[in-house]
């Protein structure tokens, strides 16, 4: 019964996020402060239902939800929105980050529910404690990187107005550019550490499952490449002192590597189900 209910609720969450995404977009394009406030109020109940879906799924299958596209959508989206709300509560001015995280989550959930609504039986390969650590940190990294690119977008939007010397009260209310920039970097750091742990945990899991820590499998290579890109970004800032727009643009683009890693190359299923000879 819970299986059907979680899908029903998940559709509710998708609709709510759709409305919030539209409100956020309208708020930013037409500088409507009120809409921004409304979208914040809507995000809280939507996130509570999202959390309920996450818990129901976990409870229902008995395993951390990381099996297939639907569960991956729920989990990664949960982290992205949790981090967004955390920012909303800490700094009202940073609400614009939702402009990336909300549609991102919406698409991940929508894609998952359309392709694998019922979920799948839990393959033997997925029953591993290392996998939970691996997935948890993967989702955390995704959430943090997504927030970082959302902040990157916010930075560019505010900076555009500043460059044109147009003082729009709406943008004035956002934090100062250097503060957005620093927060954006904080999220990169957060994602980068989680990403490093996710790669290490993944390789330990791979050793027990396939017999070697690293086999240059496309998923492994994509995650290494995207981690290195964020490593380079950190070097740009720490070693070369790059700041501001260029960093913001890099972060907006770098998220594409992560999206390909998670959704482009089949994250778990294709590469691991052959294990018990049932593919």
């Amino acid at each position: 019964m819970t299986k059907g209910l979680d899908i029903f609720l998940c559709w509710g969450v998708i609709y709510a996020y759709t409305v919030i995404a539209i409100l956020l977009l309208t708020a930013f394009v037409f500088n409507k402060e009120r809409l921004l406030g409304i979208s914040t109020y809507m995000l809280v109940p939507a996130f509570i239902v999202h959390s309920a879906v996450f818990i129901m799924r976990w409870y229902g299958t008995g395993y951390f939800p990381a099996n297939g596209k639907y569960e991956n959508g729920i989990t990664s989206g949960w982290f992205a929105i949790a981090l967004t709300l955390f920012l909303f509560l800490r700094r009202k001015g940073l609400r614009g980050v939702g402009l990336i995280t909300v549609p991102g989550t919406l698409l991940a959930l929508g894609y998952g529910i359309m392709t694998e609504p019922g979920g799948q039986a839990h393959g033997a390969a997925l029953k591993s404690s290392w996998l939970i650590i691996h997935v948890l940190f993967a989702q955390l990294a995704f959430g943090a990187y997504l927030v970082a690119s959302g902040l990157g977008l916010l930075y560019i939007l505010k900076d555009n107005k500043a460059r044109k010397n147009v003082a729009i009260p709406f943008y004035e209310k956002l934090p100062k550019l250097p503060v957005i920039e620093e927060t954006m970097f904080k999220f990169v750091v957060y994602g980068f550490i989680a990403d490093a742990i996710m790669i290490a945990a993944g390789s330990i899991w791979a050793k027990d499952l396939w017999g070697s820590y690293w086999s240059w499998d496309p998923v492994e290579v994509w995650s290494l490449v995207s981690w290195l890109i964020y490593g380079l970004t950190i070097h740009f800032r720490v070693s070369l002192g790059w700041r501001g727009r260029i960093l913001a643009w890099i972060l907006i683009l770098a998220i594409l590597g992560i999206i390909v890693t998670y959704w482009g190359v089949n994250f778990f299923m294709e590469s691991s189900q052959h294990v018990v000879g049932v593919k």
Binding site: Q120, A121, H122, G123, A124, A125, K127, S128, W130, L131, K176, P178, V179, E182, T183, F185, K186, V189, F192, I193, A196, I197, A200, I204, W205, K207, D208, L209, W210, G211, S212, Y213, W214, W216, P218, V221, W222, L224, V225, L228, I229, G231, L232, H235, F236, V238, S239, L240, Q273, H274, V275, V276, G277, V278, K279
Partner: protein
Amino acid sequence: MYRQLFVSLKDFYRFFRSPKATIIIIAVLTGLFFTGLVIPQKRFYQSRADYERWKTDNPNISFILESLKLNEIYVSPITIAFLGLFFANLAVVVGHRIPVVLRRAYLLDRARPDPDFSRIKDGPDVRAIVLRRFLRAGHDSPGSGEKEDIVREITGFLSKRLWSIIHMGDGRSLLAVKNRYSPLGFLFFHLSFILCLVGGLLLTYSRFSGKLLLTAGQDFYSDMTEFREIREPRIFKAIPPIGIRVDQVEPSYEGGIGTDLKVRMRFRYKNEEQDVLVKVNEPVKKGPVAVLASNIGVSPLFVLRASDGREISGGYFILRVLKGQEDSFEMPSLPYKFHVLFYPEYAVDNGKEYSKSLELKNPVVHLRIERDEKTVYEGNLGIKKAASFDGLQVAFEDVRYWVDFMVIREYGTAPLFIGFILGCLGLVMRLVFYQKELRFYLETSEDGYKVYVAGKSEYYIHSFREDLDELVRDLQKTLTGSLSNEYLEGEKNDKGS
């Protein structure tokens, strides 16, 4: 001329040590790794024949790729060369930074003369607390011991908040640092790459791996000839001294997906023997050896008899038929080929034969026997049933699971794991617990005292300013609360920000 060469080499070395060189090397390596995802790699092809076909269809591209070994990018000389540069650059840069890092962690230059903290009030990010009339209970007159009291209060306040007091000046200045050892994280993280390299090389060169197909009930004792797909190590060449007897295989399925696999077996390593349970994700490990169960299938037992009941041949035949594929086998010195289809839980629906599940609940084989490419028998056989053909009889007596084991022996896990741990620890130390610094200067005037506080943080100057305000506010409360005094509004100087 030599001088010129020397100068050029020096220039090159200077460039090689620069952050730009590091960034270029990492960017090229990232690009090369990425290339492996877009340029067709040899290992993407199912078989050698597939690859050869692609080569013939694309002669020019394949020529370029093969010459540069770009179709095996992860072991190509270009990648290896850049990895070499990466580690050379890492060693040089990190080597040069060791003194810098030690200095940043206040582990060097202890004998440095006292900096003049009185100048901090003119610098950026300064706050000031103005205090008038200091009189601590116990002191008889204003002025006596006040300065010491204030400094003591400040150090107490800072210690409680985990600031390390690095330097006490002439009784009126103070240097405090939060996360003093954070810079060491840089060394830990970057040196962890070297540990991972050592671990990785050791693992690669010492790795023995081989596949082993064993049917339930079968014994194996370190016989190299039984291994398939062997990968021989370059160092530590001996075969792993193991023995395996498969006792029981229990797979579980749900909706066609293998949800569990338990292989109970007797496992011997050197002279030690024990019963073990191997599962997917849970290999048996002994010293440097790991045995994984990587696949399973079925071995039906077929017995061939003459018309008088005499046994001619037979045995358990390892077949790949569990998932509905057809496989075949032959019996030694007999002219027949046996083609097998297998239904683990046989059922018929509307005249269509199928298997309800992958569990061996009602095993049936569909047997087609050929002689000189002509079918001499075709039909279904349930367990313990026999079929007659050409004056012979074939019986399907039993069926057991076979397990495809992967046996691995490798060394190098320890440096790799230490590398992982050190790397993660270094990252957290460096990027989460980054360093902040506070300088205090106590100025005495006719009216009382002025405590100047200047702060500095790595990475996040702007958010630190808010922390600094809060800290100074709290310090002010502490000072005004614990000392009997009058307090004046402080000053704030964010200039230079």
